[in-house]
Amino acid sequence: MIGPGIKRGTAELAVLSVLEGGALHGYEMARRIEQQTKGALRFTLAALYPMLYRMEQRGWIRGAWETSSNGRRRRCYRLTPAGRKKLSPLRKEWSELFEALRRLTKVTHA
Protein backbone atom coordinates (compact mmCIF):
# COMPACT_ATOMS: atom_id res chain seq x y z
CA MET A 1 0.00 0.00 0.00
CA ILE A 2 1.34 3.41 -0.94
CA GLY A 3 1.70 5.88 1.95
CA PRO A 4 -0.20 9.16 2.22
CA GLY A 5 2.78 11.42 1.42
CA ILE A 6 3.47 9.81 -1.93
CA LYS A 7 -0.25 9.67 -2.63
CA ARG A 8 -0.57 13.41 -2.23
CA GLY A 9 2.19 14.00 -4.71
CA THR A 10 0.83 11.62 -7.27
CA ALA A 11 -2.80 12.68 -6.91
CA GLU A 12 -2.62 15.48 -9.45
CA LEU A 13 -0.90 13.23 -11.93
CA ALA A 14 -3.59 10.59 -11.40
CA VAL A 15 -6.40 13.07 -12.03
CA LEU A 16 -4.77 14.57 -15.10
CA SER A 17 -4.04 11.10 -16.49
CA VAL A 18 -7.54 9.79 -16.00
CA LEU A 19 -9.02 12.92 -17.58
CA GLU A 20 -6.83 12.47 -20.62
CA GLY A 21 -9.32 9.86 -21.76
CA GLY A 22 -12.24 12.30 -21.67
CA ALA A 23 -14.54 14.28 -19.38
CA LEU A 24 -15.54 12.66 -16.07
CA HIS A 25 -17.45 13.66 -12.98
CA GLY A 26 -15.87 13.37 -9.55
CA TYR A 27 -17.32 10.03 -8.50
CA GLU A 28 -16.46 8.36 -11.79
CA MET A 29 -12.98 9.84 -11.66
CA ALA A 30 -12.37 8.35 -8.19
CA ARG A 31 -13.78 5.00 -9.30
CA ARG A 32 -11.57 4.81 -12.39
CA ILE A 33 -8.43 5.80 -10.52
CA GLU A 34 -9.09 3.11 -7.93
CA GLN A 35 -9.85 0.56 -10.61
CA GLN A 36 -6.88 1.37 -12.81
CA THR A 37 -4.41 1.39 -9.90
CA LYS A 38 -5.93 -1.82 -8.51
CA GLY A 39 -6.90 -0.05 -5.32
CA ALA A 40 -3.46 1.44 -4.60
CA LEU A 41 -4.84 4.97 -5.05
CA ARG A 42 -8.19 5.67 -3.46
CA PHE A 43 -9.80 9.07 -3.39
CA THR A 44 -12.46 9.85 -0.86
CA LEU A 45 -14.76 12.79 -1.46
CA ALA A 46 -12.83 14.78 1.17
CA ALA A 47 -9.54 14.29 -0.67
CA LEU A 48 -10.80 14.60 -4.21
CA TYR A 49 -12.85 17.78 -4.40
CA PRO A 50 -10.49 20.30 -2.76
CA MET A 51 -7.86 19.03 -5.18
CA LEU A 52 -10.19 19.32 -8.18
CA TYR A 53 -11.11 22.87 -7.19
CA ARG A 54 -7.45 23.77 -6.78
CA MET A 55 -6.58 22.29 -10.17
CA GLU A 56 -9.50 24.13 -11.70
CA GLN A 57 -8.28 27.41 -10.21
CA ARG A 58 -4.87 26.74 -11.74
CA GLY A 59 -6.54 26.28 -15.09
CA TRP A 60 -5.49 22.66 -15.58
CA ILE A 61 -9.04 21.32 -15.66
CA ARG A 62 -12.43 22.85 -16.32
CA GLY A 63 -15.71 21.75 -14.76
CA ALA A 64 -19.11 22.16 -16.43
CA TRP A 65 -22.56 20.94 -15.48
CA GLU A 66 -23.97 18.24 -17.72
CA THR A 67 -27.20 16.30 -17.56
CA SER A 68 -26.89 12.55 -17.96
CA SER A 69 -29.34 10.32 -19.81
CA ASN A 70 -31.16 9.57 -16.53
CA GLY A 71 -31.72 13.31 -16.01
CA ARG A 72 -29.13 13.76 -13.27
CA ARG A 73 -26.97 16.83 -13.19
CA ARG A 74 -23.26 16.15 -12.81
CA ARG A 75 -20.30 18.46 -12.86
CA CYS A 76 -17.92 16.96 -15.41
CA TYR A 77 -14.27 17.90 -15.59
CA ARG A 78 -12.13 17.92 -18.67
CA LEU A 79 -8.49 18.72 -19.31
CA THR A 80 -7.69 22.21 -20.55
CA PRO A 81 -4.78 22.85 -22.94
CA ALA A 82 -2.79 24.03 -19.87
CA GLY A 83 -3.57 20.77 -18.09
CA ARG A 84 -2.54 18.75 -21.10
CA LYS A 85 0.71 20.71 -21.21
CA LYS A 86 1.27 20.07 -17.50
CA LEU A 87 0.70 16.34 -17.79
CA SER A 88 3.74 15.53 -19.90
CA PRO A 89 6.49 16.99 -17.63
CA LEU A 90 4.66 15.72 -14.55
CA ARG A 91 4.63 12.21 -15.97
CA LYS A 92 8.33 12.46 -16.80
CA GLU A 93 9.17 13.77 -13.34
CA TRP A 94 7.37 10.96 -11.53
CA SER A 95 8.67 8.34 -13.90
CA GLU A 96 12.23 9.52 -13.21
CA LEU A 97 11.61 9.46 -9.48
CA PHE A 98 10.19 5.94 -9.52
CA GLU A 99 12.99 4.74 -11.79
CA ALA A 100 15.56 6.26 -9.42
CA LEU A 101 13.90 4.58 -6.44
CA ARG A 102 13.74 1.28 -8.31
CA ARG A 103 17.47 1.49 -9.07
CA LEU A 104 18.22 2.45 -5.49
CA THR A 105 16.29 -0.40 -3.95
CA LYS A 106 17.82 -2.81 -6.44
CA VAL A 107 21.33 -1.72 -5.44
CA THR A 108 20.42 -1.90 -1.76
CA HIS A 109 19.17 -5.46 -2.12
CA ALA A 110 22.14 -6.56 -4.27
Binding site: Y27, T44, L45, A46, Y49, P50, Y53, Q57, W65, R75
Partner: protein, 228 residues
Protein backbone atom coordinates in the same frame (compact mmCIF):
# COMPACT_ATOMS: atom_id res chain seq x y z
CA UNK B 1 -33.49 7.32 2.06
CA UNK B 2 -31.44 10.35 3.01
CA UNK B 3 -31.74 13.71 1.25
CA UNK B 4 -28.06 14.12 0.46
CA UNK B 5 -28.46 17.67 -0.73
CA UNK B 6 -29.92 18.71 2.60
CA UNK B 7 -27.33 16.68 4.49
CA UNK B 8 -24.37 18.30 2.70
CA UNK B 9 -25.98 21.72 3.02
CA UNK B 10 -26.21 21.34 6.78
CA UNK B 11 -22.61 20.14 7.01
CA UNK B 12 -21.24 22.95 4.86
CA UNK B 13 -23.38 25.70 6.35
CA UNK B 14 -20.29 27.66 7.33
CA UNK B 15 -18.58 27.46 3.94
CA UNK B 16 -17.61 31.02 3.07
CA UNK B 17 -18.21 31.20 -0.67
CA UNK B 18 -20.50 33.29 -2.85
CA UNK B 19 -24.07 31.83 -2.66
CA UNK B 20 -24.08 30.53 -6.25
CA UNK B 21 -20.66 28.95 -5.90
CA UNK B 22 -21.60 27.38 -2.56
CA UNK B 23 -24.79 25.93 -4.01
CA UNK B 24 -22.78 24.33 -6.81
CA UNK B 25 -20.32 22.77 -4.36
CA UNK B 26 -23.18 21.40 -2.27
CA UNK B 27 -24.93 19.95 -5.31
CA UNK B 28 -21.73 18.37 -6.56
CA UNK B 29 -20.78 16.76 -3.25
CA UNK B 30 -24.34 15.59 -2.66
CA UNK B 31 -24.35 13.94 -6.09
CA UNK B 32 -21.10 12.18 -5.23
CA UNK B 33 -22.45 10.82 -1.93
CA UNK B 34 -25.72 9.83 -3.56
CA UNK B 35 -23.86 7.87 -6.22
CA UNK B 36 -21.60 6.18 -3.66
CA UNK B 37 -24.65 5.25 -1.59
CA UNK B 38 -26.55 3.88 -4.59
CA UNK B 39 -23.56 1.80 -5.73
CA UNK B 40 -23.26 0.26 -2.28
CA UNK B 41 -26.99 -0.48 -2.18
CA UNK B 42 -26.68 -1.94 -5.68
CA UNK B 43 -24.09 -4.40 -4.32
CA UNK B 44 -26.65 -5.64 -1.85
CA UNK B 45 -25.61 -3.63 1.19
CA UNK B 46 -28.34 -2.66 3.65
CA UNK B 47 -29.50 0.94 3.22
CA UNK B 48 -28.46 2.05 6.70
CA UNK B 49 -25.02 0.51 6.34
CA UNK B 50 -24.59 1.95 2.85
CA UNK B 51 -25.48 5.37 4.16
CA UNK B 52 -22.94 5.10 6.97
CA UNK B 53 -20.29 3.86 4.58
CA UNK B 54 -20.95 6.72 2.14
CA UNK B 55 -20.66 9.21 4.99
CA UNK B 56 -17.25 7.80 5.89
CA UNK B 57 -15.99 9.54 2.75
CA UNK B 58 -15.78 12.70 4.88
CA UNK B 59 -14.33 12.08 8.31
CA UNK B 60 -14.23 15.78 9.22
CA UNK B 61 -16.66 18.17 7.57
CA UNK B 62 -15.12 21.23 9.18
CA UNK B 63 -11.74 20.34 7.74
CA UNK B 64 -13.29 19.74 4.32
CA UNK B 65 -15.03 23.10 4.51
CA UNK B 66 -11.67 24.76 5.19
CA UNK B 67 -9.94 22.85 2.39
CA UNK B 68 -12.61 23.77 -0.13
CA UNK B 69 -12.49 27.41 0.89
CA UNK B 70 -8.70 27.46 0.62
CA UNK B 71 -8.75 25.70 -2.76
CA UNK B 72 -11.34 28.05 -4.20
CA UNK B 73 -9.86 31.21 -2.81
CA UNK B 74 -6.10 30.74 -2.74
CA UNK B 75 -5.59 31.31 -6.44
CA UNK B 76 -8.07 34.19 -6.43
CA UNK B 77 -5.96 36.16 -4.02
CA UNK B 78 -3.14 36.68 -6.44
CA UNK B 79 -5.15 38.24 -9.25
CA UNK B 80 -6.87 40.35 -6.59
CA UNK B 81 -3.53 41.59 -5.36
CA UNK B 82 -2.55 42.36 -8.94
CA UNK B 83 -5.77 44.27 -9.60
CA UNK B 84 -5.90 46.05 -6.27
CA UNK B 85 -2.24 46.83 -5.76
CA UNK B 86 0.28 46.16 -8.48
CA UNK B 87 -1.65 47.26 -11.55
CA UNK B 88 -2.76 50.67 -10.18
CA UNK B 89 0.65 51.14 -8.56
CA UNK B 90 2.62 50.46 -11.70
CA UNK B 91 0.22 52.55 -13.78
CA UNK B 92 0.77 55.51 -11.45
CA UNK B 93 4.50 54.96 -11.68
CA UNK B 94 4.45 54.73 -15.48
CA UNK B 95 2.32 57.84 -15.90
CA UNK B 96 4.37 59.94 -13.51
CA UNK B 97 7.70 58.82 -15.01
CA UNK B 98 6.47 59.35 -18.58
CA UNK B 99 5.18 62.82 -17.79
CA UNK B 100 8.48 63.76 -16.19
CA UNK B 101 10.41 62.50 -19.23
CA UNK B 102 8.14 64.45 -21.59
CA UNK B 103 8.59 67.62 -19.57
CA UNK B 104 12.35 67.20 -19.60
CA UNK B 105 12.36 66.51 -23.35
CA UNK B 106 10.20 69.56 -23.96
CA UNK B 107 12.87 71.63 -22.24
CA UNK B 108 11.01 72.45 -19.03
CA UNK B 109 13.51 73.64 -16.49
CA UNK B 110 13.24 72.63 -12.87
CA UNK B 111 12.72 75.30 -10.28
CA UNK B 112 15.89 75.52 -8.27
CA UNK B 113 15.53 76.40 -4.63
CA UNK B 114 18.63 77.02 -2.57
CA UNK B 115 18.32 75.70 0.90
CA UNK B 116 20.40 76.53 3.94
CA UNK B 117 22.80 73.73 4.57
CA UNK B 118 21.10 71.50 2.03
CA UNK B 119 22.49 72.93 -1.21
CA UNK B 120 20.04 73.12 -4.10
CA UNK B 121 16.71 71.43 -4.47
CA UNK B 122 15.08 70.84 -7.86
CA UNK B 123 11.35 70.88 -8.38
CA UNK B 124 9.51 70.27 -11.64
CA UNK B 125 6.49 72.36 -10.76
CA UNK B 126 4.18 71.25 -13.63
CA UNK B 127 5.01 67.63 -12.79
CA UNK B 128 4.23 68.17 -9.11
CA UNK B 129 1.00 69.91 -10.06
CA UNK B 130 -0.21 66.88 -12.04
CA UNK B 131 0.90 64.24 -9.52
CA UNK B 132 -2.26 64.51 -7.35
CA UNK B 133 -4.27 63.40 -10.39
CA UNK B 134 -2.09 60.31 -10.79
CA UNK B 135 -2.31 59.59 -7.07
CA UNK B 136 -6.09 59.85 -7.27
CA UNK B 137 -6.19 57.61 -10.34
CA UNK B 138 -4.06 54.92 -8.64
CA UNK B 139 -6.22 55.03 -5.52
CA UNK B 140 -9.44 55.00 -7.56
CA UNK B 141 -8.38 51.97 -9.63
CA UNK B 142 -7.45 50.13 -6.45
CA UNK B 143 -10.80 51.08 -4.93
CA UNK B 144 -12.67 49.88 -8.01
CA UNK B 145 -10.89 46.52 -7.78
CA UNK B 146 -12.00 46.21 -4.14
CA UNK B 147 -8.68 47.28 -2.60
CA UNK B 148 -8.39 48.02 1.10
CA UNK B 149 -7.52 51.49 2.40
CA UNK B 150 -3.89 50.44 2.64
CA UNK B 151 -3.89 49.14 -0.96
CA UNK B 152 -5.45 52.39 -2.20
CA UNK B 153 -2.86 54.56 -0.49
CA UNK B 154 -0.06 52.25 -1.56
CA UNK B 155 -1.23 52.43 -5.19
CA UNK B 156 -1.51 56.21 -5.01
CA UNK B 157 2.00 56.84 -3.71
CA UNK B 158 3.66 53.89 -5.46
CA UNK B 159 6.04 56.04 -7.61
CA UNK B 160 7.75 57.51 -4.56
CA UNK B 161 7.90 54.13 -2.85
CA UNK B 162 10.02 52.86 -5.71
CA UNK B 163 12.24 55.90 -5.31
CA UNK B 164 12.54 55.24 -1.58
CA UNK B 165 13.57 51.66 -2.37
CA UNK B 166 16.20 52.91 -4.84
CA UNK B 167 17.31 55.51 -2.35
CA UNK B 168 18.00 52.93 0.33
CA UNK B 169 20.04 50.87 -2.12
CA UNK B 170 22.02 53.79 -3.53
CA UNK B 171 22.85 55.54 -0.23
CA UNK B 172 24.77 52.78 1.51
CA UNK B 173 26.37 51.73 -1.78
CA UNK B 174 27.53 55.26 -2.47
CA UNK B 175 28.81 55.79 1.06
CA UNK B 176 30.99 52.71 0.81
CA UNK B 177 32.12 52.81 -2.83
CA UNK B 178 32.47 56.45 -3.79
CA UNK B 179 35.12 58.02 -1.60
CA UNK B 180 35.99 60.91 -3.94
CA UNK B 181 33.26 63.18 -2.52
CA UNK B 182 33.29 64.42 1.05
CA UNK B 183 30.75 62.83 3.34
CA UNK B 184 28.91 66.07 4.23
CA UNK B 185 28.35 66.81 0.50
CA UNK B 186 26.97 63.34 0.03
CA UNK B 187 24.58 63.73 2.94
CA UNK B 188 23.44 67.12 1.60
CA UNK B 189 22.85 65.57 -1.80
CA UNK B 190 20.86 62.69 -0.35
CA UNK B 191 18.71 65.02 1.73
CA UNK B 192 18.01 67.10 -1.39
CA UNK B 193 16.98 63.98 -3.27
CA UNK B 194 14.89 62.82 -0.34
CA UNK B 195 12.99 66.10 -0.12
CA UNK B 196 12.78 66.90 -3.83
CA UNK B 197 12.05 63.44 -5.20
CA UNK B 198 10.42 61.59 -2.35
CA UNK B 199 8.79 63.78 0.26
CA UNK B 200 7.34 66.54 -1.94
CA UNK B 201 6.13 64.26 -4.78
CA UNK B 202 4.88 61.83 -2.14
CA UNK B 203 2.82 64.60 -0.55
CA UNK B 204 1.47 65.57 -3.99
CA UNK B 205 0.45 61.97 -4.77
CA UNK B 206 -1.07 61.57 -1.33
CA UNK B 207 -3.02 64.79 -1.83
CA UNK B 208 -4.74 63.05 -4.73
CA UNK B 209 -5.10 59.61 -3.13
CA UNK B 210 -6.45 60.73 0.24
CA UNK B 211 -9.64 62.40 -1.01
CA UNK B 212 -10.53 59.22 -2.93
CA UNK B 213 -10.08 57.23 0.25
CA UNK B 214 -12.06 59.74 2.31
CA UNK B 215 -14.90 60.07 -0.21
CA UNK B 216 -15.37 56.34 -0.78
CA UNK B 217 -14.72 54.47 2.49
CA UNK B 218 -18.13 52.73 2.49
CA UNK B 219 -17.71 51.51 -1.04
CA UNK B 220 -14.41 49.86 -0.12
CA UNK B 221 -16.06 47.95 2.70
CA UNK B 222 -18.87 46.70 0.47
CA UNK B 223 -16.38 45.50 -2.14
CA UNK B 224 -14.45 43.68 0.53
CA UNK B 225 -17.55 41.93 1.83
CA UNK B 226 -18.60 40.80 -1.61
CA UNK B 227 -15.09 39.61 -2.35
CA UNK B 228 -14.73 37.54 0.81
Amino acid sequence: MRDWQEFVQSKLAGLRLAPGEKAEVIEELAAHLQEAYEKLCGRGMAEELAMQKAMLQVPDWNALQGHIHAAKKREDEMPNRVRQLWFPGFLTLTLSTTLLMILQKQGWQPRIIPSNGLGLMLFYVPWLAVLPLFGALGAYLSLRAGGSTRAMLFSGVFPVLTLVACFFVIVPFSLVIDRSVALHFKIEGFLNVLIGWVLVPGAALLAGALPVQILHPRKVDSYRVSGS
